[in-house]
């Protein structure tokens, strides 16, 4: 006699012979949608994906996922303005995931443990691309070329790599040994040849590069300050923001002054203000047309500087005058003794145009002995004059192709319009992808446009409120020239943040669908399913009720038409 074990059933008599899937009029499908952090990252990082790997306890895999887009996480974790966090769906629930702090933890851990870059040395006869400028854009381009088996030679006029990261970002935001460590690890890779102290137009020429290399990527940065005057008037002893900042970063000192007004609302203005404070300038003012962020929220027309840098500058005694313009320089002879400010606002005027309006009768006088413009820079055209047509930035397409010059790419600050480290890294990546195709004689890759998932498509009931990890900050009195102000949230903080991630648009492997399906039509896989999730729908039995889609916390299940 056959003994039936517990849980067995007689095959001829089981309802498994009856396929209730034929009732279905709509079918559940796993649909990956881009998390807003991924969509918002100028470098193209999929933070959701690498946070998931942290949550799985595999930080090394997380780092490897991260550097598929950005090879400089220890650096960007410190200096990026993290638009990913502004976009984070969790910011509408309690607080955004501290993505930048987690990125920094991964970058630091990779350096500390000397994790190997997951890339093979290119073959001896691999094509070579010339890259001008070893800043974030150039380094990113070299890395992404290497990932595709293409070698590069990186030229830079400075003795070390890093570009603006080393010349204009103060050490209290980006410690120099850290910068050297992360860039150094990249430059050590076989297939990236770094040639410092080479200046385009002096030691090498553009024509020579175009003849000798399979492709050229220009990322020279913006080395020349924009012209600035108030109604054509400039003071005789004018110092320009970025130059002064570079001087302070490299020499550690600035010309003597007792009070200064810095004009501009970007990171250069804020960095310089903090540098002047550290150099002993008693009164430091920042004057900007734009608006100060309130309560960590950027309104319209907000200052482009990083919010936490503005907050720290305020703590250190920098005075901000937002929504104000300079109407007149007050000169005695050719020396500045003050400025006349006026309140301004960007608004739609009667003519229907958005303009900045100065309000008459709101003029005030600020007594300062220096006015320092920090209103932006442009490309120094030396050696590249034919490409710039007298403009301050390269005209390029989405992939960085310089208009009218096939095989010649440009990116980073020199392409104009953005000017952040992360955007430069994204430029380098896109140019590298296009260069790979160009070298193979193919058209540029297709843009992948993925639907972005919004908070309304998540089921928030399944999440709990949890405080965001806070990085330790040095007290104002302890902040010096080189001491890094922001500390690390450490691996415990990163683990906690990763656990807070909603996993927007991607499977969290939470078992909700598997647990809640009334028809047992969701099956759990032992290995990853083909779509990367942990579950498969058994369409023989799924009746298409839509319960799994409704209860999926991540919005990863969508109901599609039954065909």
């Amino acid at each position: 006699m056959t003994t039936m074990t517990r849980g067995a059933y007689a095959l001829p008599g089981t309802t498994l012979n009856y396929h209730t899937g034929s009732w279905r009029v709509q079918r559940p499908e796993h649909r990956h949608r881009a998390a807003p952090c991924h969509h918002a990252c100028p470098a193209g990082e999929d933070a959701q994906a690498w946070l998931a790997l942290i949550a799985e306890g595999n930080r090394r895999a997380a780092w490897e996922k991260l550097i598929e887009a950005n090879p400089l996480p220890a650096i960007t974790g410190r200096v990026c303005h993290h638009p990913c966090e502004s976009a984070c769906n969790r910011s509408q629930y309690d607080e955004a995931i501290a993505i930048h702090a987690c990125e920094r933890v991964l970058g630091d851990e990779a350096i500390a443990n000397n994790w190997r870059y997951p890339v093979d040395a290119p073959s001896g006869n691999a094509p070579v691309v010339a890259i001008v400028g070893a800043g974030p854009a150039g380094l990113s381009c070299a890395w992404h070329l290497l990932r595709h088996g293409i070698k590069s030679v990186l030229f830079d006029e400075l003795p070390q790599a890093g570009g603006t990261l080393g010349t204009a970002i103060p050490a209290y935001r980006l410690p120099r040994d850290l910068l050297a460590a992360e860039t150094g690890r990249l430059l050590e890779l076989s297939g990236i040849d770094f040639r410092p102290l080479h200046r385009l137009g002096r030691d090498i020429s553009l024509d020579q590069l175009r003849q000798e290399y399979a492709g050229v990527f220009l990322a020279p940065g913006n080395q020349r300050s924009r012209e600035w005057s108030v109604d054509g008037v400039t003071p005789r002893d004018l110092h320009v923001g970025l130059d002064l900042l570079k001087e302070w970063v490299s020499v550690g000192d600035v010309p003597p002054m007792t009070s200064a007004a810095i004009v501009g609302g970007g990171n250069t203005a804020v960095d310089l203000a903090r540098a002047l404070k550290r150099a002993g300038v008693a009164q430091v003012h920042v004057i900007t047309h734009q608006t100060l962020p309130r309560d960590h929220v950027r309104g319209d027309d907000a200052m482009s500087a990083i919010v936490r840098e503005i907050r720290q500058a305020e703590e250190e005694g920098v005075t901000f005058h937002d929504q104000r313009g300079i109407r007149r320089l007050m000169l005695r002879g050719e020396r500045v003794v003050g400025v006349e400010m006026v309140r301004m606002k960007k608004m739609v005027r009667a003519n229907g145009r958005m303009e900045r309006v100065a309000f008459e009768g709101t003029e005030t006088v600020l007594h300062v002995d220096q006015v320092i413009p920090a209103i932006g820079q442009e490309v120094e055209p030396f050696g590249m004059e034919p490409l710039l047509h007298g403009q301050g930035a390269f005209e390029v397409d989405h992939w960085g192709v310089v208009s009218g010059h096939s095989g010649l790419y440009a990116g980073g600050d020199a392409r104009g319009g953005h000017g952040t480290v992360t955007a430069a890294i994204g430029d380098g990546r896109r140019a590298a992808l296009a260069l790979v195709r160009h070298i193979r004689g193919e058209a540029p890759p297709k843009e992948r446009l993925e639907e972005v998932i919004e908070i309304g498509q998540l089921n928030l009931h399944y999440y709990e409120h949890a405080d965001r990890a806070q990085e330790p900050l040095l007290a104002v009195g302890e902040r010096g020239l080189d001491n890094e102000i922001e500390g690390s949230i450490e691996t415990t903080g990163a683990d906690r943040e990763a656990a807070r991630c909603f996993s927007c648009g991607n499977c969290l492997a939470c078992d909700n669908c598997w647990t809640l399906c009334p028809d047992s039509a969701v099956l759990k896989t032992t290995e990853l399913a083909r779509d990367g999730s942990h579950y498969r729908f058994d369409y023989d039995y799924c009746k298409g009720c839509g319960l799994c889609a409704h209860e999926c916390p991540c919005g990863y299940i969508a109901m599609g038409e039954e065909v």
């Binding site: 309802t15 939470c510 809640l516 319960l547």
Partner: protein, 327 residues
């Protein structure tokens, strides 16, 4: 990569399920989910006595069965008696197998009540599970003594004469507890880990135990099958279906409600209460009446949580990567 054949994957699921696919329950059926969750937590060493009702009908369309455990159906009114006899037989054989009795609210609150009461009184080693969908759904949505006040059914229609059912929902768990049984509890399909924990507790008791599982019926309640869980969750969050545990008649556990929702949120999601949102003074009165019933439950069982808790109405179903919550 070749994927594992789906039938093969089905045979290697990392859980025991007493109820297989292919059953004929409606889309989004709360009772089908509830029965699977109960058998999952009870394990394979059980026998089931099933009263007449939806569960019996949709799992055993002749000549097929969805059950993977020994299962017996006799009549509508005698699940308690059948289970008692099965338990007595197993006892005589000296076998440790646990008997489960499954019935709907009709078979428990009304028709099978005296058989159940006798089973409790004799303290048979049976876990009696009532899948409470608050009306006779199998026969066409007739009111039962479990149907909540003011719900419309085919035998308590809302109209000129009445705003749905005139009487109140019977407080069955208190009646069960009055039999001085070792364990009686309520659970909801919206809180599966809580439900399974209660099944395991009841299974561990030697003697009669009772579990009332709130199971939404998309057809009878008038909501889309996709929102069955959401509707069941709202019943808990409003206080209309308190999740409680009673041991020997004493209250020993409640699921606190972190954020108490107004009953309107629950009622509005279901067509059986749609008449309460008409512009009618009787409707407004009934809305206030139902809110008062919820408030009464909250006060009576002390359901309002005083701080966030991992086991309250918000914390009990928080998801974790890898499904750790459902352990």
């Amino acid at each position: 990569m070749s994927e594992q054949p789906i039938a093969d994957l089905r045979r290697h699921q990392p859980r025991f399920s007493g109820l297989e696919s292919g059953h004929r329950a409606c889309t989004g059926c709360g009772e089908a989910l509830g029965a699977r969750l109960v058998t999952e937590a009870a394990g394979p060493d059980v026998l089931v006595a099933n009263a007449t009702g939806c569960l019996e009908v949709f799992t055993t369309a002749w000549p097929q069965s969805s059950w993977r455990v020994p299962w017996l159906h006799s009549l509508f009114e005698n699940a308690g008696a059948i289970a008692s006899g099965m338990e007595a037989a197993l006892k005589a054989q000296g076998r440790p197998t646990k008997v489960l009795a499954f019935a709907g609210d009709g078979g428990t609150f009304d028709i099978g009540f005296q058989a159940l009461s006798g089973m409790l009184e004799r303290d048979h080693n049976v876990l009696y599970v009532c899948y409470d969908n608050e009306a006779y759904m199998n026969t066409g949505i007739q009111r039962s003594s479990s149907t909540p006040h003011a719900a419309t059914t085919t035998t308590s229609p809302a109209g000129k004469a009445r705003m749905g059912k005139r009487h109140l929902k019977k407080d069955i768990v208190s009646i069960i507890a009055a039999h001085h049984v070792a364990y009686a509890a309520t659970a909801s399909v919206a809180y599966p880990s809580d439900l399974r924990k209660k099944v395991r507790r009841a299974m561990a008791v030697e003697g009669a135990t009772f579990l009332q599982v709130h199971s939404p019926c998309p057809l009878g309640w008038g909501h889309d099958g996709a929102v069955s869980i959401e509707v069941a969750r709202l019943a808990v969050q409003t206080g209309l279906f308190p999740l409680v545990e009673l041991e020997r008649g004493s209250l020993t556990g409640v699921m606190p409600i972190r954020e108490v929702r107004p009953v309107r949120d629950y009622l509005r999601a279901q067509k059986r209460f749609v008449h309460l949102f008409a512009d009618d003074p009787r409707a407004r009165e009934e809305l206030d009446h139902i809110q008062a019933l919820a408030d009464h439950n909250i006060e009576r069982y002390g359901l309002r949580g005083d701080r966030p808790d991992a086991l309250d109405s918000e914390g009990a179903d928080t998801v974790r990567r890898g499904g750790a919550r459902w352990a």
